[in-house]
Symmetry: C2
Subunit: 169 residues, 2 copies
DNA sequence: ATTCGTGCAAAACGTTTGCAATAAT
DNA sequence: ATTATTGCAAACGTTTTGCACGAAT
């Protein structure tokens, strides 16, 4: 019996797209997003535009300070409060997801990819994405059987590369 | 095809045991535990004895302040730092587990039951335990296929009772 | 012109730590 | 007697908030 695993390894943009096409695609999506946000009553300031672009381009899961650092070029002096406020707003608008992995500040990713869960390499902190439909289905069945609807869920595998040194310490 | 779900609903003590027997059982386990801890070089103070007992008796997932509150009777004036230090120590000794659910302080439970995951009722904050071997197995297969060993994992379903009011707000 | 968003500083929050006093071994 | 543990207060790291100024609509 063959095991079915859909896995995405942190690649956000299809590899066969050339860099320039990828950028165009991100720009396009970001432009559409800002329009949508504006008509939801959210003012698009330089700070927010910068953060939106950075989040669209990010192929990792940056935390707030890192986002501030990356935004600094486009918006010198951008404050951490603004970063946090913007992230909260974008999360509320469904544009990004906030992940609270163990032992780190919250990390963020935009919501353009389909649903996936995360493996966190406890040695390196690297975040690897994966998806498995069967697990999703089982979760739904469990909740259903117990009389609940799932609002959202969170599955995190804290892992170590096979044969990695320091099993402890 | 019948779905297989093992589920434990926060009941820590078998319901057919009378209250007194349950207490005896907890006392017995706690006594054994303190002995084990002592020979691991951990001094059993009044504070720690109290917390061990409270954790053994708890059929919920209390947080640190709540544990302090419950310990207050046995050890008046017990400090929150002591509670936290004890919890850290007991976690290191494998006696308890620390859960960081969304939007709440860490919550603790002792490690006497077999492994399970958690559903959190987003309306009430109630924590419901469940176990599903198939999901565990799938997780292991995914990690394996990607070349990782699982150190630990975390699966949390944030749920709402079917037909509950206030789907928002 | 009217909001809404910003930066700053300060507070909030849960948790950890340095220390001198105290209790367990 | 020795050493670990305690309570207190102060610090910590992350995140939120009050406020007066500035910018987007």
């Amino acid at each position: 019996m063959k095991m079915q695993i859909n896995c995405t390894l942190g690649l956000r943009v299809s590899p066969y797209l050339r860099e320039k096409d990828a950028m165009t695609r991100i720009d396009h999506r970001t432009k559409k997003l800002t329009t949508a946000l504006r008509s939801a009553g959210v003012r698009i300031t330089r700070q927010r535009a910068a953060l939106l672009t950075i989040l669209a381009e990010a192929d990792d899961h940056p935390e707030a300070v890192e986002l501030q650092r990356r935004a600094e070029e486009a918006v010198p002096g951008i404050s951490l409060s603004t970063v946090y406020r913007t992230l909260t707003e974008l999360e509320a608008q469904g544009v990004i997801l906030r992940h609270q992995f163990e032992g780190t500040p919250a990390r963020f990713e935009h919501t353009e990819t389909q649903h996936h869960d995360h493996m966190i390499d406890v040695e390196t902190g690297e975040v690897i994405e994966f998806a498995n439909d069967r697990i999703e289905q089982l979760q739904a069945e469990i909740a259903e059987a117990m009389g609940y609807d799932i609002v959202h869920h969170r599955l995190e595998l804290y892992v170590r590369k096979k044969g990695a040194a320091n099993p402890d310490e």
